[in-house]
Protein backbone atom coordinates (compact mmCIF):
# COMPACT_ATOMS: atom_id res chain seq x y z
CA UNK A 1 0.00 0.00 0.00
CA UNK A 2 1.42 3.32 -0.99
CA UNK A 3 2.16 5.40 2.08
CA UNK A 4 1.21 8.57 0.28
CA UNK A 5 -2.10 7.24 -0.96
CA UNK A 6 -3.99 9.15 1.68
CA UNK A 7 -2.74 12.44 0.34
CA UNK A 8 -3.39 11.55 -3.27
CA UNK A 9 -6.93 10.26 -2.95
CA UNK A 10 -8.49 13.69 -3.10
CA UNK A 11 -5.90 15.22 -5.34
CA UNK A 12 -6.18 12.49 -7.92
CA UNK A 13 -9.81 13.34 -8.59
CA UNK A 14 -8.85 16.80 -9.67
CA UNK A 15 -5.59 16.06 -11.40
CA UNK A 16 -4.93 17.54 -14.80
CA UNK A 17 -8.24 19.38 -14.84
CA UNK A 18 -8.36 22.83 -13.55
CA UNK A 19 -6.15 24.81 -11.47
CA UNK A 20 -4.81 26.65 -8.75
CA UNK A 21 -5.98 29.30 -6.41
CA UNK A 22 -2.75 28.79 -4.58
CA UNK A 23 -1.94 31.77 -2.51
CA UNK A 24 -0.53 32.65 0.82
CA UNK A 25 -3.43 34.79 1.97
CA UNK A 26 -3.81 35.47 5.63
CA UNK A 27 -0.15 35.23 6.65
CA UNK A 28 0.00 37.98 9.22
CA UNK A 29 2.96 38.67 11.46
CA UNK A 30 3.30 41.39 14.10
CA UNK A 31 5.27 44.29 12.66
CA UNK A 32 7.62 44.43 15.63
CA UNK A 33 8.57 40.76 15.37
CA UNK A 34 12.18 40.33 14.35
CA UNK A 35 12.83 37.35 12.13
CA UNK A 36 14.53 34.99 11.97
CA UNK A 37 13.96 34.32 15.67
CA UNK A 38 17.04 33.51 17.68
CA UNK A 39 15.95 30.05 18.83
CA UNK A 40 16.92 26.49 17.91
CA UNK A 41 13.91 24.65 16.49
CA UNK A 42 13.49 20.95 15.74
CA UNK A 43 10.69 20.08 13.31
CA UNK A 44 8.94 16.72 13.35
CA UNK A 45 7.23 15.59 10.17
CA UNK A 46 5.96 12.02 9.66
CA UNK A 47 8.46 10.01 7.65
CA UNK A 48 6.13 9.46 4.71
CA UNK A 49 5.56 13.20 4.44
CA UNK A 50 9.25 14.02 4.76
CA UNK A 51 10.18 11.90 1.80
CA UNK A 52 7.30 12.91 -0.46
CA UNK A 53 8.37 14.87 -3.51
CA UNK A 54 6.29 17.23 -5.57
CA UNK A 55 7.04 18.54 -9.02
CA UNK A 56 8.45 22.01 -9.53
CA UNK A 57 8.35 22.88 -5.87
CA UNK A 58 11.41 24.37 -4.29
CA UNK A 59 13.10 27.61 -3.60
CA UNK A 60 15.56 27.00 -6.40
CA UNK A 61 13.21 26.26 -9.28
CA UNK A 62 14.32 22.63 -9.21
CA UNK A 63 13.01 20.61 -12.10
CA UNK A 64 13.90 17.88 -14.49
CA UNK A 65 13.75 18.12 -18.22
CA UNK A 66 12.05 14.82 -18.89
CA UNK A 67 9.23 12.61 -17.80
CA UNK A 68 10.32 12.09 -14.20
CA UNK A 69 9.65 15.48 -12.70
CA UNK A 70 10.68 15.50 -9.12
CA UNK A 71 10.95 18.50 -6.88
CA UNK A 72 12.46 18.80 -3.47
CA UNK A 73 11.18 16.59 -0.72
CA UNK A 74 8.90 18.19 1.85
CA UNK A 75 11.76 17.90 4.28
CA UNK A 76 13.86 20.15 2.05
CA UNK A 77 10.97 22.55 1.47
CA UNK A 78 10.22 22.69 5.18
CA UNK A 79 13.79 23.48 6.12
CA UNK A 80 13.94 26.10 3.37
CA UNK A 81 10.82 27.78 4.78
CA UNK A 82 11.97 27.43 8.40
CA UNK A 83 15.19 29.36 7.81
CA UNK A 84 13.06 32.49 7.28
CA UNK A 85 11.53 32.05 10.73
CA UNK A 86 14.29 30.61 12.89
CA UNK A 87 18.02 31.19 13.00
CA UNK A 88 18.64 27.49 13.59
CA UNK A 89 16.25 24.77 12.42
CA UNK A 90 16.62 21.07 11.72
CA UNK A 91 14.51 17.96 11.44
CA UNK A 92 13.67 15.95 14.52
CA UNK A 93 15.17 12.45 14.33
CA UNK A 94 14.30 9.51 16.56
CA UNK A 95 17.93 9.49 17.62
CA UNK A 96 20.60 12.14 17.40
CA UNK A 97 18.49 15.31 17.25
CA UNK A 98 20.60 18.28 18.33
CA UNK A 99 19.45 20.12 21.46
CA UNK A 100 16.53 22.45 20.74
CA UNK A 101 14.55 25.21 22.40
CA UNK A 102 11.32 24.40 20.58
CA UNK A 103 10.00 21.26 18.93
CA UNK A 104 7.28 21.78 16.31
CA UNK A 105 5.45 18.55 15.41
CA UNK A 106 3.32 18.86 12.27
CA UNK A 107 0.91 16.23 10.92
CA UNK A 108 -0.34 17.38 7.52
CA UNK A 109 -3.34 15.82 5.78
CA UNK A 110 -5.48 16.58 2.73
CA UNK A 111 -9.17 15.92 2.16
CA UNK A 112 -11.67 16.69 -0.57
CA UNK A 113 -14.87 18.53 0.39
CA UNK A 114 -17.40 20.57 -1.58
CA UNK A 115 -15.23 20.67 -4.72
CA UNK A 116 -12.34 21.96 -2.65
CA UNK A 117 -9.17 20.40 -1.41
CA UNK A 118 -8.53 21.23 2.19
CA UNK A 119 -5.03 20.77 3.56
CA UNK A 120 -4.71 20.77 7.31
CA UNK A 121 -1.61 20.82 9.42
CA UNK A 122 -2.34 19.69 12.95
CA UNK A 123 0.55 20.97 15.03
CA UNK A 124 1.79 20.78 18.58
CA UNK A 125 4.75 22.71 19.95
CA UNK A 126 6.91 21.65 22.88
CA UNK A 127 9.64 23.51 24.70
CA UNK A 128 13.06 22.07 25.45
CA UNK A 129 11.79 20.45 28.65
CA UNK A 130 9.07 18.59 26.76
CA UNK A 131 6.14 20.72 27.92
CA UNK A 132 3.44 21.41 25.36
CA UNK A 133 3.29 25.18 24.82
CA UNK A 134 1.01 25.52 21.79
CA UNK A 135 -1.20 23.46 19.55
CA UNK A 136 -3.59 24.17 16.73
CA UNK A 137 -4.49 23.59 13.10
CA UNK A 138 -3.38 25.50 10.05
CA UNK A 139 -5.75 25.18 7.11
CA UNK A 140 -5.26 25.94 3.42
CA UNK A 141 -8.00 25.52 0.80
CA UNK A 142 -7.69 24.90 -2.90
CA UNK A 143 -10.44 25.37 -5.45
CA UNK A 144 -10.44 24.99 -9.24
CA UNK A 145 -9.36 28.22 -10.80
CA UNK A 146 -7.64 29.60 -13.84
CA UNK A 147 -4.81 27.53 -15.30
CA UNK A 148 -3.93 23.87 -15.58
CA UNK A 149 -1.97 22.33 -12.74
CA UNK A 150 -0.54 18.89 -12.08
CA UNK A 151 -1.88 16.95 -9.11
CA UNK A 152 1.46 16.67 -7.38
CA UNK A 153 2.12 20.37 -7.97
CA UNK A 154 -1.16 21.29 -6.29
CA UNK A 155 -0.41 18.92 -3.45
CA UNK A 156 3.10 20.29 -3.09
CA UNK A 157 1.92 23.86 -2.93
CA UNK A 158 -0.83 23.05 -0.43
CA UNK A 159 1.55 21.23 1.86
CA UNK A 160 4.18 23.92 1.66
CA UNK A 161 1.59 26.52 2.55
CA UNK A 162 0.38 24.45 5.48
CA UNK A 163 3.91 24.26 6.82
CA UNK A 164 4.55 27.97 6.23
CA UNK A 165 1.26 28.88 7.90
CA UNK A 166 2.08 26.66 10.87
CA UNK A 167 5.47 28.28 11.37
CA UNK A 168 3.84 31.70 11.02
CA UNK A 169 1.36 30.80 13.77
CA UNK A 170 4.16 29.56 15.99
CA UNK A 171 6.26 32.73 15.76
CA UNK A 172 3.22 35.03 15.94
CA UNK A 173 1.82 33.40 19.06
CA UNK A 174 4.95 32.42 20.95
CA UNK A 175 7.28 35.23 19.84
CA UNK A 176 10.17 32.87 20.52
CA UNK A 177 13.59 33.99 21.64
CA UNK A 178 16.60 32.12 22.95
CA UNK A 179 15.93 33.57 26.41
CA UNK A 180 12.31 32.48 26.41
CA UNK A 181 13.01 29.04 25.00
CA UNK A 182 16.59 28.15 25.86
CA UNK A 183 18.18 25.15 24.24
CA UNK A 184 17.87 22.13 26.47
CA UNK A 185 20.39 19.29 26.53
CA UNK A 186 18.11 17.03 28.53
CA UNK A 187 14.89 15.06 28.12
CA UNK A 188 14.11 14.93 24.43
CA UNK A 189 10.65 13.73 23.57
CA UNK A 190 10.45 10.19 22.23
CA UNK A 191 9.17 9.74 18.70
CA UNK A 192 6.30 7.60 20.02
CA UNK A 193 4.89 10.70 21.74
CA UNK A 194 4.95 12.66 18.50
CA UNK A 195 3.20 10.11 16.28
CA UNK A 196 -0.39 10.65 15.15
CA UNK A 197 -2.10 7.66 16.72
CA UNK A 198 -5.49 8.47 15.22
CA UNK A 199 -4.42 7.86 11.63
CA UNK A 200 -2.21 4.88 10.78
CA UNK A 201 0.00 5.42 7.74
CA UNK A 202 0.02 1.69 6.99
CA UNK A 203 -1.86 -1.39 8.06
CA UNK A 204 -1.17 -5.05 7.49
CA UNK A 205 -1.39 -8.55 8.87
CA UNK A 206 0.92 -10.85 10.79
CA UNK A 207 0.93 -14.16 12.64
CA UNK A 208 2.56 -15.55 15.76
CA UNK A 209 5.72 -17.50 15.02
CA UNK A 210 6.39 -18.91 18.45
CA UNK A 211 4.99 -19.04 21.96
CA UNK A 212 6.98 -15.99 23.07
CA UNK A 213 4.70 -13.75 21.05
CA UNK A 214 6.98 -12.92 18.13
CA UNK A 215 4.98 -11.95 15.05
CA UNK A 216 6.00 -12.38 11.42
CA UNK A 217 4.79 -9.78 8.94
CA UNK A 218 5.83 -8.01 5.73
CA UNK A 219 8.70 -5.57 6.22
CA UNK A 220 7.00 -2.80 4.23
CA UNK A 221 4.09 -2.80 6.71
CA UNK A 222 6.33 -1.76 9.60
CA UNK A 223 8.96 0.30 7.79
CA UNK A 224 9.78 3.62 9.52
CA UNK A 225 6.94 3.37 12.05
CA UNK A 226 7.13 5.53 15.16
CA UNK A 227 4.57 3.30 16.84
CA UNK A 228 3.40 -0.22 15.94
CA UNK A 229 0.19 -1.69 17.29
CA UNK A 230 -0.62 -5.39 17.08
CA UNK A 231 -4.39 -5.97 17.23
CA UNK A 232 -5.73 -9.22 18.56
CA UNK A 233 -9.19 -10.11 19.79
CA UNK A 234 -10.32 -6.47 19.91
CA UNK A 235 -7.38 -5.38 22.04
CA UNK A 236 -4.02 -4.07 20.99
CA UNK A 237 -0.47 -4.24 22.27
CA UNK A 238 2.58 -2.20 21.28
CA UNK A 239 5.27 -3.97 19.27
CA UNK A 240 8.82 -3.30 18.18
CA UNK A 241 10.80 -4.57 15.21
CA UNK A 242 13.14 -7.38 16.29
CA UNK A 243 14.50 -8.19 12.83
CA UNK A 244 13.76 -7.17 9.28
CA UNK A 245 14.91 -7.78 5.71
CA UNK A 246 13.95 -5.48 2.86
CA UNK A 247 15.24 -8.00 0.31
CA UNK A 248 12.71 -10.67 1.32
CA UNK A 249 10.19 -8.12 2.61
CA UNK A 250 9.59 -9.83 5.94
CA UNK A 251 10.02 -8.64 9.52
CA UNK A 252 9.65 -10.06 13.02
CA UNK A 253 7.99 -8.06 15.78
CA UNK A 254 8.36 -8.47 19.52
CA UNK A 255 5.05 -8.22 21.39
CA UNK A 256 6.04 -9.93 24.66
CA UNK A 257 2.70 -11.71 24.77
CA UNK A 258 3.34 -15.14 26.24
CA UNK A 259 1.70 -18.51 25.68
CA UNK A 260 0.16 -17.64 22.34
CA UNK A 261 -0.94 -20.09 19.69
CA UNK A 262 1.52 -19.94 16.81
CA UNK A 263 1.57 -21.22 13.23
CA UNK A 264 4.12 -23.71 11.90
CA UNK A 265 6.07 -23.04 8.73
CA UNK A 266 5.75 -25.61 5.97
CA UNK A 267 8.30 -28.38 5.74
CA UNK A 268 7.90 -28.70 1.95
CA UNK A 269 10.77 -27.45 -0.18
CA UNK A 270 8.41 -26.52 -2.95
CA UNK A 271 4.66 -26.38 -2.41
CA UNK A 272 2.52 -28.39 -4.82
CA UNK A 273 0.87 -26.65 -7.74
CA UNK A 274 -2.90 -26.57 -7.42
CA UNK A 275 -2.80 -27.14 -3.67
CA UNK A 276 -5.72 -25.64 -1.82
CA UNK A 277 -4.67 -22.57 0.17
CA UNK A 278 -6.25 -20.14 2.58
CA UNK A 279 -5.19 -16.57 3.22
CA UNK A 280 -6.10 -14.95 6.52
CA UNK A 281 -5.78 -11.22 6.80
CA UNK A 282 -6.97 -7.95 8.26
CA UNK A 283 -7.57 -5.97 5.06
CA UNK A 284 -9.07 -2.49 4.81
CA UNK A 285 -8.71 -1.87 8.53
CA UNK A 286 -10.01 1.68 8.24
CA UNK A 287 -13.34 0.34 6.90
CA UNK A 288 -13.76 -3.08 8.46
CA UNK A 289 -14.12 -4.22 12.02
CA UNK A 290 -11.24 -5.88 13.84
CA UNK A 291 -12.22 -9.34 12.59
CA UNK A 292 -9.99 -11.36 10.27
CA UNK A 293 -10.99 -12.12 6.70
CA UNK A 294 -10.52 -15.60 5.23
CA UNK A 295 -10.25 -16.25 1.50
CA UNK A 296 -9.67 -19.50 -0.36
CA UNK A 297 -7.84 -20.31 -3.56
CA UNK A 298 -5.08 -22.45 -4.95
CA UNK A 299 -1.35 -22.25 -5.32
CA UNK A 300 -1.43 -21.21 -8.97
CA UNK A 301 2.26 -20.91 -9.91
CA UNK A 302 5.60 -21.67 -8.32
CA UNK A 303 7.01 -18.48 -9.79
CA UNK A 304 6.36 -14.82 -9.22
CA UNK A 305 6.92 -11.91 -11.57
CA UNK A 306 9.91 -11.50 -13.83
CA UNK A 307 12.90 -10.86 -11.57
CA UNK A 308 11.14 -11.73 -8.33
CA UNK A 309 12.99 -13.73 -5.69
CA UNK A 310 11.58 -16.68 -3.80
CA UNK A 311 7.92 -16.00 -4.50
CA UNK A 312 4.97 -18.13 -5.60
CA UNK A 313 1.60 -17.12 -6.97
CA UNK A 314 -1.73 -17.87 -5.31
CA UNK A 315 -5.34 -17.14 -6.21
CA UNK A 316 -7.01 -16.52 -2.83
CA UNK A 317 -8.27 -12.91 -3.12
CA UNK A 318 -6.45 -10.29 -1.07
CA UNK A 319 -7.05 -6.60 -0.38
CA UNK A 320 -4.88 -3.76 0.90
CA UNK A 321 -3.90 -4.63 4.46
CA UNK A 322 -3.43 -8.33 3.72
CA UNK A 323 0.37 -7.98 3.45
CA UNK A 324 2.17 -10.16 5.94
CA UNK A 325 -0.73 -12.58 6.27
CA UNK A 326 -0.14 -16.33 6.18
CA UNK A 327 -0.90 -18.40 3.10
CA UNK A 328 -1.86 -21.72 4.67
CA UNK A 329 -1.70 -25.03 2.85
CA UNK A 330 -3.92 -28.10 3.09
CA UNK A 331 -1.93 -29.49 6.04
CA UNK A 332 -2.47 -26.38 8.07
CA UNK A 333 1.06 -25.06 7.95
CA UNK A 334 2.25 -21.82 6.41
CA UNK A 335 3.34 -22.16 2.78
CA UNK A 336 4.24 -18.50 2.47
CA UNK A 337 3.70 -14.90 3.53
CA UNK A 338 1.52 -12.62 1.36
CA UNK A 339 3.65 -9.74 0.10
CA UNK A 340 2.02 -8.32 -3.03
CA UNK A 341 -0.47 -8.45 -5.88
CA UNK A 342 -0.62 -7.35 -9.49
CA UNK A 343 -1.37 -3.67 -9.89
CA UNK A 344 -4.83 -4.01 -11.44
CA UNK A 345 -5.29 -0.27 -12.03
CA UNK A 346 -2.05 -0.09 -13.98
CA UNK A 347 -2.85 -3.15 -16.05
CA UNK A 348 -6.37 -1.91 -16.78
CA UNK A 349 -4.81 1.04 -18.61
CA UNK A 350 -3.18 -1.54 -20.87
CA UNK A 351 -6.50 -3.30 -21.46
CA UNK A 352 -6.02 -6.23 -19.09
CA UNK A 353 -7.92 -6.91 -15.91
CA UNK A 354 -5.99 -9.35 -13.73
CA UNK A 355 -7.94 -11.41 -11.24
CA UNK A 356 -6.51 -12.87 -8.08
CA UNK A 357 -2.88 -12.79 -9.14
CA UNK A 358 -1.22 -12.52 -5.77
CA UNK A 359 2.26 -13.29 -4.52
CA UNK A 360 3.75 -14.79 -1.38
CA UNK A 361 7.28 -15.37 -0.19
CA UNK A 362 7.98 -19.11 0.13
CA UNK A 363 8.24 -20.40 3.69
CA UNK A 364 11.70 -21.83 2.97
CA UNK A 365 13.14 -18.33 2.60
CA UNK A 366 11.36 -17.18 5.74
CA UNK A 367 13.06 -20.05 7.57
CA UNK A 368 16.51 -19.02 6.26
CA UNK A 369 15.88 -15.49 7.46
CA UNK A 370 14.73 -16.64 10.92
CA UNK A 371 17.67 -19.01 11.29
CA UNK A 372 20.11 -16.23 10.37
CA UNK A 373 18.60 -14.08 13.13
CA UNK A 374 18.34 -16.95 15.64
CA UNK A 375 14.60 -16.51 15.95
CA UNK A 376 12.60 -19.51 17.13
CA UNK A 377 9.88 -21.00 14.96
CA UNK A 378 8.09 -24.29 14.56
CA UNK A 379 8.06 -26.36 11.44
CA UNK A 380 5.19 -28.51 10.17
CA UNK A 381 5.54 -32.25 9.95
CA UNK A 382 6.27 -33.97 6.65
CA UNK A 383 3.07 -36.00 6.79
CA UNK A 384 1.32 -37.54 3.81
CA UNK A 385 -0.26 -35.00 1.52
CA UNK A 386 -3.71 -33.87 2.50
CA UNK A 387 -6.27 -33.55 -0.25
CA UNK A 388 -8.79 -31.56 1.72
CA UNK A 389 -9.31 -27.86 2.18
CA UNK A 390 -6.85 -25.92 4.25
CA UNK A 391 -7.99 -25.81 7.89
CA UNK A 392 -8.97 -22.46 9.34
CA UNK A 393 -10.14 -22.75 12.94
CA UNK A 394 -6.74 -23.65 14.33
CA UNK A 395 -5.05 -20.84 12.45
CA UNK A 396 -7.38 -17.94 13.23
CA UNK A 397 -6.20 -17.23 16.81
CA UNK A 398 -2.62 -16.91 15.60
CA UNK A 399 -3.32 -14.16 13.05
CA UNK A 400 -3.17 -10.49 14.06
CA UNK A 401 -3.75 -7.08 12.53
CA UNK A 402 -0.93 -4.55 12.49
CA UNK A 403 -1.05 -0.76 12.36
CA UNK A 404 1.86 1.59 11.79
CA UNK A 405 1.80 5.19 13.01
CA UNK A 406 4.15 8.07 12.28
Amino acid sequence: MNKCAGFLVGVGLLAFTAAACLGAEGLVLPKDLALPANVAVAIYLPKNVREFRSAFRSAGGFQTTESVQLGNTFEESTLAAAQHFFRSSFMYEATGTPPYGLLVAIHPSVKSEDKQLIATGHYQVYDGAGTSVLKGDSVVRWAPGGFAAHASDILGSLMEQVITRTLTDVVAQLRPTAEKFPTSEKAQLGVELLADKDHPVMSGTGFFLNSTGQVLTAAHVVHECAVIDVRRESSSVPATVAASTALLDVAVLDTHISNVHSLALSHQDHPALGESVVNIGFPLQSLMTDAPTVTRGTLSSRAGLNGSLGQFQFSAPIQPGASGGPVIGARGDVLGVAVGTLNAAELLKQGALPQNVNFALEAGYVEKFLQSKSIAFTQGTADARSSGDAPIDDALPAVVGIKCYQ
Binding site: Q63, E346, L347
Partner: protein
Protein backbone atom coordinates in the same frame (compact mmCIF):
# COMPACT_ATOMS: atom_id res chain seq x y z
CA UNK B 1 8.12 37.40 5.52
CA UNK B 2 5.39 37.48 2.95
CA UNK B 3 7.73 39.21 0.56
CA UNK B 4 10.26 36.46 0.95
CA UNK B 5 7.67 33.79 0.31
CA UNK B 6 6.31 35.52 -2.75
CA UNK B 7 9.84 36.20 -3.91
CA UNK B 8 10.46 32.47 -4.06
CA UNK B 9 7.30 31.88 -6.00
CA UNK B 10 8.14 34.55 -8.58
CA UNK B 11 11.54 32.97 -9.15
CA UNK B 12 9.91 29.58 -9.59
CA UNK B 13 7.49 31.00 -12.11
CA UNK B 14 10.28 32.67 -14.07
CA UNK B 15 12.23 29.42 -14.14
CA UNK B 16 9.18 27.44 -15.23
CA UNK B 17 8.29 29.87 -18.01
CA UNK B 18 11.90 29.83 -19.13
CA UNK B 19 11.95 26.08 -19.53
CA UNK B 20 8.49 25.80 -21.01
CA UNK B 21 9.23 28.36 -23.67
CA UNK B 22 12.63 26.98 -24.65
CA UNK B 23 12.13 23.37 -25.66
CA UNK B 24 14.24 23.61 -28.81
CA UNK B 25 17.81 22.98 -29.75
CA UNK B 26 20.36 22.99 -27.01
CA UNK B 27 24.07 23.53 -27.12
CA UNK B 28 26.61 23.66 -24.31
CA UNK B 29 28.82 26.73 -24.33
CA UNK B 30 30.86 25.90 -21.25
CA UNK B 31 32.22 22.58 -20.11
CA UNK B 32 31.04 20.66 -17.07
CA UNK B 33 32.90 21.08 -13.79
CA UNK B 34 33.06 17.36 -13.11
CA UNK B 35 35.80 15.61 -15.03
CA UNK B 36 35.20 12.10 -16.43
CA UNK B 37 36.67 9.42 -14.22
CA UNK B 38 39.57 7.14 -14.95
CA UNK B 39 39.53 3.35 -15.13
CA UNK B 40 36.62 1.71 -13.38
CA UNK B 41 37.40 -0.53 -10.46
CA UNK B 42 35.81 -3.89 -11.16
CA UNK B 43 34.66 -5.79 -8.12
CA UNK B 44 34.05 -9.47 -8.29
CA UNK B 45 33.07 -10.08 -4.69
CA UNK B 46 29.85 -8.10 -4.88
CA UNK B 47 27.03 -10.08 -6.45
CA UNK B 48 23.66 -8.47 -6.91
CA UNK B 49 20.37 -9.98 -8.04
CA UNK B 50 18.51 -8.95 -11.16
CA UNK B 51 17.88 -5.23 -10.84
CA UNK B 52 14.93 -3.46 -12.44
CA UNK B 53 16.04 -0.38 -14.37
CA UNK B 54 13.78 2.67 -14.22
CA UNK B 55 14.97 5.97 -15.66
CA UNK B 56 13.91 9.17 -17.35
CA UNK B 57 15.01 9.82 -20.94
CA UNK B 58 18.44 11.15 -19.96
CA UNK B 59 19.04 8.22 -17.64
CA UNK B 60 17.74 5.70 -20.15
CA UNK B 61 20.72 6.44 -22.43
CA UNK B 62 23.02 5.12 -19.70
CA UNK B 63 21.58 1.60 -19.65
CA UNK B 64 24.17 -0.01 -21.92
CA UNK B 65 27.11 1.50 -20.06
CA UNK B 66 25.72 0.34 -16.73
CA UNK B 67 24.75 -3.09 -17.98
CA UNK B 68 28.25 -3.76 -19.35
CA UNK B 69 29.75 -3.52 -15.88
CA UNK B 70 30.29 -6.62 -13.76
CA UNK B 71 28.37 -5.11 -10.88
CA UNK B 72 25.19 -4.41 -12.85
CA UNK B 73 25.40 -7.28 -15.32
CA UNK B 74 21.89 -8.32 -14.26
CA UNK B 75 20.36 -4.91 -14.88
CA UNK B 76 17.07 -5.37 -16.72
CA UNK B 77 14.27 -3.28 -18.18
CA UNK B 78 11.89 -6.22 -17.95
CA UNK B 79 12.43 -7.48 -14.39
CA UNK B 80 9.40 -5.66 -12.96
CA UNK B 81 9.13 -8.14 -10.11
CA UNK B 82 12.64 -7.63 -8.82
CA UNK B 83 12.84 -6.38 -5.26
CA UNK B 84 15.83 -4.25 -6.28
CA UNK B 85 15.32 -1.19 -8.46
CA UNK B 86 17.81 1.32 -9.86
CA UNK B 87 16.20 4.71 -10.55
CA UNK B 88 18.07 7.32 -12.55
CA UNK B 89 16.91 10.80 -13.37
CA UNK B 90 18.27 14.14 -14.41
CA UNK B 91 17.37 17.47 -12.83
CA UNK B 92 18.26 21.11 -13.36
CA UNK B 93 18.47 23.99 -10.94
CA UNK B 94 18.25 26.96 -13.29
CA UNK B 95 20.81 29.63 -12.44
CA UNK B 96 19.70 33.08 -11.39
CA UNK B 97 18.94 35.36 -14.32
CA UNK B 98 22.07 37.40 -15.01
CA UNK B 99 22.72 40.15 -17.54
CA UNK B 100 23.99 37.67 -20.15
CA UNK B 101 20.88 35.49 -19.88
CA UNK B 102 18.58 38.49 -19.74
CA UNK B 103 19.92 40.20 -22.84
CA UNK B 104 20.18 36.96 -24.81
CA UNK B 105 16.51 36.41 -23.96
CA UNK B 106 15.57 39.88 -25.17
CA UNK B 107 17.63 39.40 -28.31
CA UNK B 108 15.99 36.06 -28.97
CA UNK B 109 12.53 37.57 -28.67
CA UNK B 110 13.58 40.49 -30.88
CA UNK B 111 14.80 38.16 -33.61
CA UNK B 112 11.68 35.97 -33.36
CA UNK B 113 13.70 33.09 -31.99
CA UNK B 114 16.52 33.11 -34.55
CA UNK B 115 19.00 34.17 -31.90
CA UNK B 116 19.56 31.64 -29.11
CA UNK B 117 18.82 32.16 -25.43
CA UNK B 118 21.69 31.34 -23.11
CA UNK B 119 20.47 28.98 -20.40
CA UNK B 120 22.71 28.01 -17.54
CA UNK B 121 22.15 25.94 -14.44
CA UNK B 122 23.33 23.14 -12.25
CA UNK B 123 22.58 19.78 -13.83
CA UNK B 124 22.49 16.70 -11.62
CA UNK B 125 22.32 13.01 -12.44
CA UNK B 126 20.62 11.15 -9.60
CA UNK B 127 21.23 7.43 -9.03
CA UNK B 128 19.08 5.76 -6.38
CA UNK B 129 18.95 2.08 -5.42
CA UNK B 130 15.78 0.80 -3.79
CA UNK B 131 15.03 -2.56 -2.18
CA UNK B 132 11.31 -3.21 -1.98
CA UNK B 133 10.62 0.51 -1.83
CA UNK B 134 13.32 1.33 0.72
CA UNK B 135 16.11 3.49 -0.63
CA UNK B 136 19.42 1.98 0.41
CA UNK B 137 21.81 4.02 -1.71
CA UNK B 138 21.82 7.46 -3.30
CA UNK B 139 24.55 9.03 -5.42
CA UNK B 140 24.37 12.36 -7.21
CA UNK B 141 26.75 14.04 -9.66
CA UNK B 142 26.41 17.68 -10.62
CA UNK B 143 27.87 20.05 -13.18
CA UNK B 144 27.23 23.65 -14.09
CA UNK B 145 26.28 23.73 -17.74
CA UNK B 146 25.45 26.62 -20.03
CA UNK B 147 23.77 25.99 -23.32
CA UNK B 148 22.09 27.90 -26.10
CA UNK B 149 18.45 27.23 -26.76
CA UNK B 150 16.41 28.48 -29.66
CA UNK B 151 12.93 29.76 -29.00
CA UNK B 152 12.06 28.86 -32.59
CA UNK B 153 13.27 25.28 -32.19
CA UNK B 154 10.64 22.58 -32.46
CA UNK B 155 10.61 18.85 -32.02
CA UNK B 156 12.14 16.56 -29.44
CA UNK B 157 15.52 17.35 -27.98
CA UNK B 158 17.66 14.26 -28.52
CA UNK B 159 19.95 15.36 -25.70
CA UNK B 160 17.09 15.51 -23.20
CA UNK B 161 17.88 19.09 -22.23
CA UNK B 162 21.54 18.35 -21.56
CA UNK B 163 23.04 19.48 -24.85
CA UNK B 164 25.74 17.47 -26.68
CA UNK B 165 28.50 18.19 -24.15
CA UNK B 166 26.10 17.67 -21.31
CA UNK B 167 25.26 14.28 -22.72
CA UNK B 168 28.96 13.36 -22.67
CA UNK B 169 29.14 14.53 -19.06
CA UNK B 170 26.05 12.50 -18.13
CA UNK B 171 27.60 9.35 -19.58
CA UNK B 172 30.80 10.04 -17.67
CA UNK B 173 28.85 9.93 -14.42
CA UNK B 174 28.29 6.20 -14.98
CA UNK B 175 31.91 5.40 -14.09
CA UNK B 176 31.72 7.60 -11.03
CA UNK B 177 28.53 5.89 -9.95
CA UNK B 178 29.90 2.38 -10.49
CA UNK B 179 32.97 3.20 -8.41
CA UNK B 180 30.84 4.63 -5.64
CA UNK B 181 28.43 1.72 -5.83
CA UNK B 182 31.24 -0.82 -5.48
CA UNK B 183 32.43 0.96 -2.33
CA UNK B 184 28.95 1.41 -0.89
CA UNK B 185 28.59 -0.49 2.37
CA UNK B 186 24.83 -0.87 1.96
CA UNK B 187 25.34 -2.48 -1.45
CA UNK B 188 27.86 -4.89 0.02
CA UNK B 189 25.40 -5.76 2.75
CA UNK B 190 22.74 -6.38 0.11
CA UNK B 191 25.13 -8.64 -1.78
CA UNK B 192 25.88 -10.65 1.35
CA UNK B 193 22.23 -11.03 2.16
CA UNK B 194 21.43 -12.07 -1.39
CA UNK B 195 24.12 -14.75 -1.21
CA UNK B 196 22.80 -15.95 2.12
CA UNK B 197 19.32 -16.58 0.78
CA UNK B 198 19.86 -17.35 -2.90
CA UNK B 199 23.51 -18.19 -3.49
CA UNK B 200 25.03 -16.54 -6.53
CA UNK B 201 22.30 -17.46 -8.98
CA UNK B 202 18.90 -15.87 -8.68
CA UNK B 203 15.84 -17.88 -9.61
CA UNK B 204 14.10 -15.97 -12.36
CA UNK B 205 10.48 -16.10 -13.20
CA UNK B 206 8.07 -14.67 -16.04
CA UNK B 207 5.85 -9.86 -16.04
CA UNK B 208 3.66 -6.94 -14.92
CA UNK B 209 3.60 -4.26 -12.29
CA UNK B 210 2.91 -5.24 -8.68
CA UNK B 211 1.68 -3.38 -5.68
CA UNK B 212 2.37 -4.18 -2.07
CA UNK B 213 -0.74 -4.94 -0.07
Amino acid sequence: MARAIFGIRIRQLVAMIGIISCPGMAEVTAGPDTAPSGQLEETTDVVLPTIFFHADAAGDDLFDALHSSHLLARLSREAVGSPVQLRIFHSVHPAHVDAKNFFSGLLSIGTLGLSPVVMSGEHTMHYELFVNGQRISRHEYSANLSRKEYLSGKGADATHGLGPDGLVWAKATVDLFLKDLARDSSVRALSEEYRLYFGNAAPLSPASPTVQQ
